[in-house]
């Protein structure tokens, strides 16, 4: 008897969690279902399933968004920003953790300080400076901006990971004749792999979804990212929901795929980053 009522209670809690999750998911349901409806059907029957699948919404969205171009632009920016961030942040984190001079302590807090500076406080002069050195409307400019903005958080994640690596490993490498550079690239870099994956996924989600920075720096049409292209489309087709919803779904799909491939790293990375802070 006790066993039965116990499992009944757990079933109730499980059901509650499940229903809550359904409520959380419902916005996705609305967007996806309606993206396949004609405009008239979407207005009269928003909650139901589509009668006929209007796949042409997606074909129109593909063209309106200039999807291949926007996708390519976003991908290039994300890849190069990630590469740069991983290289500069892991090197700096290694040195700052292993060489705790007074100077390095100050530098470390300087990097951490940047995490409270709102982007709005630097964006106006940054745009001005980019204008001086011809970085406006270039991918190089955007990548540099992401590297500067992301270096603090990435460095923080790497340093929390490097602290846990036993020093003895490096010492034996030095005894075997490894230079300090060799120690880093041959011993430390391979050990950093799990954290590198986490950093890669977290920074990719951020850069892929970022809107304000590409809007400010990339103003020419051919340079639009998925986010800025989506935004400018919405300005034009505000109420044309059949097209707009398909645009939204097409913007969502790549990050969703990335997330489902790497969700363990995302969730672990957020938990680690927060707990060690």
């Amino acid at each position: 008897m006790i066993g039965r009522s116990y499992s009944f209670k757990w079933f109730g809690i499980e059901l509650l969690a499940f229903l809550l999750a359904l409520v959380f998911l419902s916005p996705f349901y609305f967007v996806i279902v309606n993206s396949f409806k004609s405009f008239a059907e979407l207005l009269t029957d928003t909650a139901g399933l589509p009668g006929v699948l209007h796949v042409e919404n997606y074909l129109n969205a593909w063209k309106a968004l200039n999807y291949p171009q926007a996708f390519k632009n976003t991908l290039i920016i994300t890849i190069f920003s990630n590469l740069g961030l991983i290289i500069i942040s892991s090197m700096a984190a290694y040195r700052l953790v292993r060489n705790k001079s007074r100077m390095n302590r100050i530098l470390f807090s300087m990097f951490m300080l940047a995490m409270v500076i709102p982007f709005q406080s630097i964006m106006i002069p940054m745009v001005k400076m980019f204008g001086w050195v011809n970085l406006m409307n270039t991918f190089t400019g955007v990548v540099i901006a992401y590297m500067g903005m992301g270096v603090s958080f990435t460095l923080f994640l790497f340093s929390s990971f490097i602290i846990a690596i036993p020093k003895e490993i490096e010492e034996s490498a030095v005894v075997d004749g490894c230079t300090p550079y060799g120690t880093f690239f041959r011993i430390i870099v391979p050990l950093l792999k799990p954290m590198t994956v986490t950093v890669l996924v977290l920074n990719s989600l951020w850069i892929w979804n970022d809107f304000l920075l590409p809007m400010l720096v990339l103003q020419k049409p051919g340079l639009q990212t998925i986010q800025t292209a989506t935004s400018s489309l919405f300005g034009q087709y505000m109420t044309q929901w059949d097209l707009a919803l398909a645009v939204l779904v097409m913007g969502m799909v790549p990050v969703m795929i990335l997330f489902f491939m790497a969700q363990r790293h995302v969730i672990q990375g957020i938990a680690d980053g927060a707990v060690k802070g």
Binding site: W10, I13, A17, L20, A21, F24, L25, P27, F30, V31, N34, L42, T46, A47, G84, I88, M91, A92, Y94, R95, N99, L107, F111, A114, I117, P118, Q120, I122, M123, I124, P125, K128, M129, I144, M147, G148, M149, V151, S152, P180, F184, L205, N209, F211, L212, Q227, T230, S231, F234, L248, G251, M252, V266, I267, I270, A271, D272, A274, V275, G277
Partner: protein, 284 residues
């Protein structure tokens, strides 16, 4: 030499993007720079007196942002913690359900805003017709009060799942034997939560408050795509006010002055919060 090799590149990018623009910003905040012409005329503290004395909209956006942050942060943390508590129980489907609650975080604020625009303008009236619940037929983006709550709903829908992940990590660190001991001593569920779990996870609370405050206070993308500050500027966040001032009105000098005030406010608020909650942390 090694110092320059390892830290040099990080410092270089940090300087170009964060440090130098930040100091330039302090200079520009005291000019009447319009962003177009090359010359920025020095005006001293004029911009600041303009902001404080003649710009009620900035004050209004600050007041909106403060109220919004307060409500959103409390709801986000309470719901995030409740979800974490629920999903720390040994449920069979808990890892799948955790993923679902986290899912909105995979999308950017811009897309979230457009998604919810559709749901509030089209989806809610649709549900309202089916269920006859007046909650769903409110003019969600049409009035000041409802637009405020629309933003809150979306920010909780997104933020709670993120905080949940951090709270789950915090809850996992609470020693099980401590809870077992208190059960033996006859403590109820509520007493365990209040007297053992919450004091022990205060470091997590500090982090979650820090993250949610700085996020919500800096809100831009969601604001831009969901309400654009409307109706009648009533939901214009500070970040959006700064953006509009600089790039909409071409008053870059005034915009940077606002951005500087914004920076001071963000730093001040987060420092106070961290100090306050840190003082409540206990050692295990």
């Amino acid at each position: 030499m090694q110092q320059a090799f390892f830290i040099g590149p990080a410092i270089l990018f940090y300087s170009i993007v964060i440090a130098i623009p930040f100091f330039f910003g302090i200079y520009y905040s005291m000019t009447s720079w319009d962003g177009v012409s090359g010359n920025a005329v020095w005006v001293g503290l004029n911009n600041f007196s303009t902001i404080f004395l003649k710009d009620p909209e900035f004050g209004q956006s600050f007041w909106f942002t403060t109220r919004f942050t307060l409500t959103a942060v409390i709801l986000n943390n309470v719901i995030g913690f409740a979800l974490a508590y629920l999903l720390s129980l040994p449920l069979k489907s808990r890892s799948a359900i955790r993923t679902i609650f986290f899912l909105p975080n995979v999308l950017g604020g811009l897309v979230l805003g457009f998604i919810w625009q559709f749901i509030l303008v089209q989806g809610f009236p649709g549900i309202g017709k089916l269920t006859n619940l007046s909650f769903f037929t409110l003019p969600w983006l049409g009035t000041e009060a409802t637009a405020y709550w629309a933003l809150i709903i979306v920010s909780v829908w997104q933020g709670a799942g993120y905080l949940m992940v951090i709270y789950i990590a915090g809850l996992a660190n609470v020693p099980k034997d401590l809870i077992e001991a208190s059960v033996i001593d006859g403590a109820g569920k509520w007493q365990i939560l209040k007297n053992i779990i919450i004091p022990l996870i205060m470091p997590t609370v500090t982090v979650c408050l820090f993250i949610s405050i700085s996020w919500t206070f800096k809100m831009f993308d969601l604001n831009y795509s969901l309400t654009s500050g409307g109706p009648y500027g009533s939901t214009e966040s500070v970040a959006m006010n700064i953006y509009n001032e600089a790039f909409g009105n071409n008053r870059y000098g005034l915009g940077t002055a606002k951005a500087l005030i914004f920076f001071v406010a963000v730093t001040f608020i987060t420092l106070i919060q961290v100090k306050l909650t840190k003082s409540r942390e206990v050692e295990m």
